[in-house]
């Protein structure tokens, strides 16, 4: 009865009411107009005026809860006690909803959700990040992500991969949620991505096998392409630049073009439109040419992409992404020596011990074609149930080039392979607190390569896989979310061998004060050895023998972390992400020189572990005129049987970024990254390749200046501005200083 009286003001006389008044401001003390202030459970309320002031009369006496809400701010509640005839004054500061809270990711749970609240570590590169850095190939931008370290084109997330001669990856690349690994080596085809059409790149750190199966052992990179805009947009982007001659004369003197400024340039055009409310598309074409800053390192790349979206009715959507890439390149594999870094080396061994001209060179020039077709059907049965059907096809043709004539050799001397498959994903949302995903996936690989000798004599070796997976999210309380997942995979390695793996995961996310999330995550991961790791049998460059006994590797990961964002008065917006993690690996696959085989071989190590911590701090002013970020990753790895560090895992990795608005539309930016020399450098490679054990810290500073003038955006970039020479991977000099001018026209 008392409650009824309390919350039913019309039933009470005026003599028992009081007045609540006050002010509402933001964290900077600025008044917020238009804030709705209501007595919770009633219709009594008022809105703040331009001075942020409100006054509510005829408020029933007693203990009441006032709810404050405004667009762009988090809700707030205050409990007040009011006596009959009394006026109570309340002052409230509302927290602004800021950028991080609006960022979304899809790879953490196969659905869009706020980045702030996901129970796993995730970093996001936006389309603007890619544009500002003139990202030509995605690894240029990934190098700026905290916890991501790239050796050559091998991506490490928190030290997962090391350097494995570009065979096998412990990071799964996905394009719009669909796996995109090369059929032969499970390598990441970064050049086959439409960098001009990327909406964002999500970097999921830690095992993702419970959702995505093999390949996601160390993490996931999901490239999300953009949707169609409401109005047609055409963009033409051109860039041109030069590689600065390397600093040391000894190096320049070793190559006839050592003193030249070597050019690179490219042009891309894209157009997107919604032809009708039901149908839209975008397409992009890109060509780029790079003369290379060292001998035999030039490349021409052409790629085209198209995405079509058809929504015949609101509940049904079909999207198809089609891509193709053709690339001809001189593939510089290793240098001649640390005194002759601009020339490829030679391997002298056995029959070729006299270092004659016919000894193999440290290059493998090739012509590569890749094509991908990725259709997705989404159907909403009702507001609680929808499903997606995804198909995927990815083909690769690699033709080596003759070193003397430059002509393409026959395909039988190269590689042709395809990955194809599809998946069904059903989604059930019984209520706001529960989501259930259930899926079935089927994939296969078909590869024929002159480098591989498959076990069963099947020239087109296959590696079919079938998987079922489930993912459940449960909102236990308004602040506490539980996420569980389970995936069962079954792979056929060859005609007589199959492998099964169960990958569970469990995580908790506790959100408090709206903008802080504490997370705990545990999960299993696994990876089937790639074709290249298992079947490569070749002595053209290094002696490598196949290992038919190679087993899948597994991992277990635990992580605790906290992510938050806050608006600090007069400073701006500060966000942070701090995590500690431990990944243990069983049957870890690493290349080793095996004496009994007289060659390199990929073998299973007993156990290895990586313990680490990662911190990320970002700051920006409210106006966005100045922003800065710093990320630091610490890794400590150990191979259990020897007690030694795992090779090629740098202990310290730092990334920093600074962006500032100068005058008008003129903006300046800088990225700096530091990677310490790995404590252990695998030395067997150095038995063949002179000075392959030579490594130094990586300290690279990239600078940029940009301005927008009407439809044009003009940018100047100086990459590796400090002219710092480092080793990109063993026996390969990293990019020297370069100067680039970029002009983008958008209509």
């Amino acid at each position: 009865m008392l409650l009824a009286l309390t919350f039913c003001p019309l039933a009470r006389g005026q003599d028992t009411s009081g007045i609540v008044s006050g002010n509402v401001s933001d964290e900077d003390g600025a008044a917020i107009p238009g804030v709705n202030v209501v007595v919770e459970g009633t219709l009594i309320g008022a809105a703040t005026n331009v001075e942020g002031h409100f006054r509510i009369e005829q408020v029933p006496s007693g203990t009441l809860v006032l709810k404050f809400s405004a667009i762009g701010f988090f809700d707030d509640r205050r409990t007040v006690r009011i006596q009959p005839g009394e006026e109570v004054t309340v002052s409230v500061v509302l927290q602004q909803k800021i950028l991080l809270a609006d960022e979304v990711v899809v790879s953490a749970a196969r659905r869009e959700q706020p980045a702030l609240s996901v129970p796993v570590s995730v970093s996001i590169l936006s389309a603007d990040d890619l544009l500002r850095r003139n990202t030509i190939v995605l690894d240029d931008a990934l190098r700026t992500v905290s916890g991501v370290h790239i050796l050559g084109n091998q991506i490490n997330i928190r030290g997962s991969s090391g350097f494995a001669y570009n065979t096998g990856s412990r990071v799964l690349l996905m394009l719009d949620g669909m796996p995109l690994l090369t059929p032969d080596s499970d390598g990441i085809p970064l050049e086959a991505l439409p960098t001009t059409e990327i909406e964002r790149v999500e970097v999921l750190k830690g095992p993702g096998s419970a959702l995505y199966g093999s390949g996601a052992l160390g993490g996931v990179i999901n490239v999300v392409t953009r949707d169609m805009p409401d109005t047609p947009v055409t963009t033409v982007k051109t860039f041109a630049g030069v590689w600065d001659p390397v600093r040391h004369k000894v190096w320049r003197d070793g190559w006839s073009h050592g003193d030249d400024y070597r050019p690179f340039w490219g042009v891309s055009a894209s157009h997107s439109t919604m032809r009708s409310p039901e149908f839209g598309w975008w397409t992009s074409l890109t060509f780029r040419r790079d003369a290379g800053f060292k001998a035999l390192s030039g490349r021409d790349v052409f790629h085209g992409f198209a995405k079509m979206s058809w929504r015949p009715r609101p509940s049904l959507k079909l999207e198809t992404l089609v891509g193709m890439m053709a690339r001809q390149r001189d593939n510089f594999i290793f240098w001649n020596s640390a005194r002759d870094v601009l020339n490829p080396g030679r391997v002298s061994f056995g029959e070729d011990a006299s270092t004659t001209d016919d000894a193999p060179e440290g290059t493998l020039d090739d012509f590569v074609r890749q094509i991908s077709v990725l259709p997705v059907l989404t159907h909403f049965i009702n507001s609680k149930v929808f499903y997606e059907v995804r198909l995927r096809g990815f083909g690769t043709l690699v033709q080596p080039l003759d070193n003397d004539t430059g002509k393409r050799k026959d395909l039988s001397d190269g590689t042709m392979g395809a990955r194809y498959g599809g998946e069904f994903q059903g989604n059930w949302i019984p209520n706001n607190d529960r989501r259930v995903v259930l899926g079935l996936s089927r994939d296969a690989i078909t590869t024929k390569s002159s480098f591989f000798v498959t076990n069963d004599g099947d020239a087109l070796g296959g590696q079919p896989e079938i998987a079922v997976f489930t993912h459940v999210e449960e909102q236990l309380t308004p602040s506490l979310q539980l996420v569980g997942g389970l995936r069962f995979d079954r792979y056929r390695i060859d005609a007589s061998d199959t492998e099964s793996r169960l990958s569970p995961k469990l995580s908790l996310a506790y959100q408090w004060r709206a903008q802080n999330t504490l997370r705990l995550a545990w999960g299993h991961g696994f990876r089937v050895p790639s074709f290249a790791e298992r079947f490569t049998d070749n002595r053209d460059f290094l002696p490598i023998v196949r290992n038919l006994e190679l087993r899948p590797e597994t991992s277990q990961s635990v992580e605790a972390g906290i992510r938050g964002v806050a608006a600090v008065q007069q400073i701006g917006v500060v966000s942070w992400d701090v995590s500690i993690f431990r990944n243990t690996y069983q049957e870890f696959i690493e290349p080793r020189l095996v004496t009994a085989e007289q060659a390199f071989q990929f073998i299973n190590l007993d156990e290895a572990s990586i313990l680490g911590a990662e911190t990320m701090l970002e700051w920006r002013t409210r106006s966005g005129s100045l922003q800065a970020s710093v990320g630091y990753t610490y890794l400590s790895s150990e191979e259990s049987s020897t007690g030694e560090d795992l090779p090629f895992r740098p202990r310290h990795h730092i990334t920093t970024t600074l962006e500032a608005a100068l005058i008008g539309s003129l903006r300046a930016g800088a990225d700096f990254r530091y990677t310490s020399v790995p404590d252990k450098i695998e030395s067997d490679f150095a038995r063949f390749v002179t000075d392959a054990e030579v490594m130094v810290d990586t300290r690279v500073l990239d600078l940029r200046l940009s301005s927008v003038q009407g439809p044009f955006r003009i940018a100047a970039l100086v990459n590796n501005a400090l002219e710092y020479h480092y080793v990109d991977r063993p026996a390969l000099l990293g990019d020297p200083r370069s100067f680039t001018l970029q002009i983008t026209w958008t209509r």
Partner: protein
Amino acid sequence: MNDANPVATIDAVRYLLLILFSLLLLSCDHGLEPPEDPGFGRIEGTVTYVGNWPPQEELQDLRFVAMRFIPQDTSDFFKLNEMEISAGLETNVDSDSFTLAAATSGTYFYSGIAQKFDSDLLSWRPLGLYTDNGGVFTVTSGETVSISFVVDFDDPPIFPPR
């Protein structure tokens, strides 16, 4: 919260960041540098064969090899960057000569005639070693080292060396 001037605060942070970046620039060197030129010398030698040559099928290759280390097992034959290897030598002769025109300067600890006796990659064994001065000689940049030794087929060296 406080009376600080927002513009002044932001300027302060801006300057702080500039200072940090400046320090970063100043603290950086230029990274990888070419190592000192080790220099190259010349090795000339003669070898005299004593005893009966092995069967021809076991003479798939024959070379003079000079190593800047003492091998411990056959996997050390992979250390191609720490050894010098001559062109192929003649077989079934009483003596032969060899020349390494560009041998890396340094001290060589284990040198002799190596025989490839099978098709396997590492099917190499020593037939006879240079033993003067404990088997050690030094190549100095721009200078020539002359060595001579005997291969006795009836008394092959033990491998790996004790």
